[in-house]
Symmetry: D2
Subunit: 126 residues, 4 copies
Amino acid sequence: MRFRLETRYADYDTKGHVNNAVYLTYFEIARAEAWLGAVGGSPDAPFIIAEATVRFVRPAMIGVPLDIEVATTEVRPKAWVWHYRVVDARDDTLVAEGQTVQVMYDYTAGRSVEIPADVRAGLSNV
Amino acid sequence: MRFRLETRYADYDTKGHVNNAVYLTYFEIARAEAWLGAVGGSPDAPFIIAEATVRFVRPAMIGVPLDIEVATTEVRPKAWVWHYRVVDARDDTLVAEGQTVQVMYDYTAGRSVEIPADVRAGLSNV
Amino acid sequence: MRFRLETRYADYDTKGHVNNAVYLTYFEIARAEAWLGAVGGSPDAPFIIAEATVRFVRPAMIGVPLDIEVATTEVRPKAWVWHYRVVDARDDTLVAEGQTVQVMYDYTAGRSVEIPADVRAGLSNV
Amino acid sequence: MRFRLETRYADYDTKGHVNNAVYLTYFEIARAEAWLGAVGGSPDAPFIIAEATVRFVRPAMIGVPLDIEVATTEVRPKAWVWHYRVVDARDDTLVAEGQTVQVMYDYTAGRSVEIPADVRAGLSNV
């Protein structure tokens, strides 16, 4: 899945580029799109983030349109991995990439659970 | 009440000064301090914000230490007004000021309520 | 001008609704759209914000699509006023409204300046 | 180095705990403290972040005091690694940990540079 990021002026810091922490928010935006678009269900999604990594390749200066791609790269019994690429939308130059590990979680029971079949099917469409 | 703000690098924007929206976050930090320090109780406080105003007097450049003052300026049956001043901590130069109107709120019942006596007493200490 | 806000999960706080400070960021997004769409020029726009006010009418819960409207309501020699309305995009219910005062600013000279004719013309299209 | 984090209400999301992206901001706060405290110099520091990783161990619920520890774990010719631990300040329970790779950078020349001797000395004190 790929879509345009709506960057915000507040995303940019004194160096004129997107602040490093904001990339995790961009990944979160992509997760929400992937979850709602491919899996469906509540926007207050029933999973937790166990790990996140970001590799910053080049600064994203203000005014540069950014696209984000998200893809499922691994599905385990209770967790899955999403990989992200943030690119300059004009020429696909890589700006940053990274991944997050999601763990299916039952907030009522307070514990991780197996990924349901419908979620598993949806993940294959991301 | 007056205290030092712990500014964050991400608070500053491409102009090198604190982004305008962040002042409402600074006011929120002051509210939390005022609520916990003078009133007491849960940090997830039982009031809603009905109005907020900010007047930006001079930019707060990165590296400038900032203090914030908060004072109760009006108490109504169900609401009260807090006034804020953000100053350069070195010489008390005014950076921004503003106010917020808080309405006492029962999140379970989903409606505004009268300010309890203990809260009213606490507000006079802010 | 009216357009859809791309809300972010991080905009919502423990109450499940958009955090109060985020509305100033929503106003800023609208300013950027208005500036680029009606006036043109650099996204790092040559004005400063002198005042901002927000009136919070009802909470915007997660999952509710939000539109924002921005309109020029006053133009002075060196400053202008933009008024904003954030609404539930499904039924136009008002969520919050407010305004900001922008002052035309020469960042090189470090002082306010008269609004140029082309900017003045552009403002009438917002 | 270890110090108390001044958490903000806006750091917490609908789940009542610190939003995942905010940990990179906490790491950034620790970097600023480490840089100013052990190395010295401008708060607008002359390095870029090449990589960041976070491992989320347990949620940090609102009201829990958080400490952050930062330590230099590796120094290369042009880059160094800082490792972070965010802990519950009451009992040192690990909340999250991670690391970032910093690259010494000359913003005027637009390229990475060798770590100066004084910075290298300072890093050994973090």
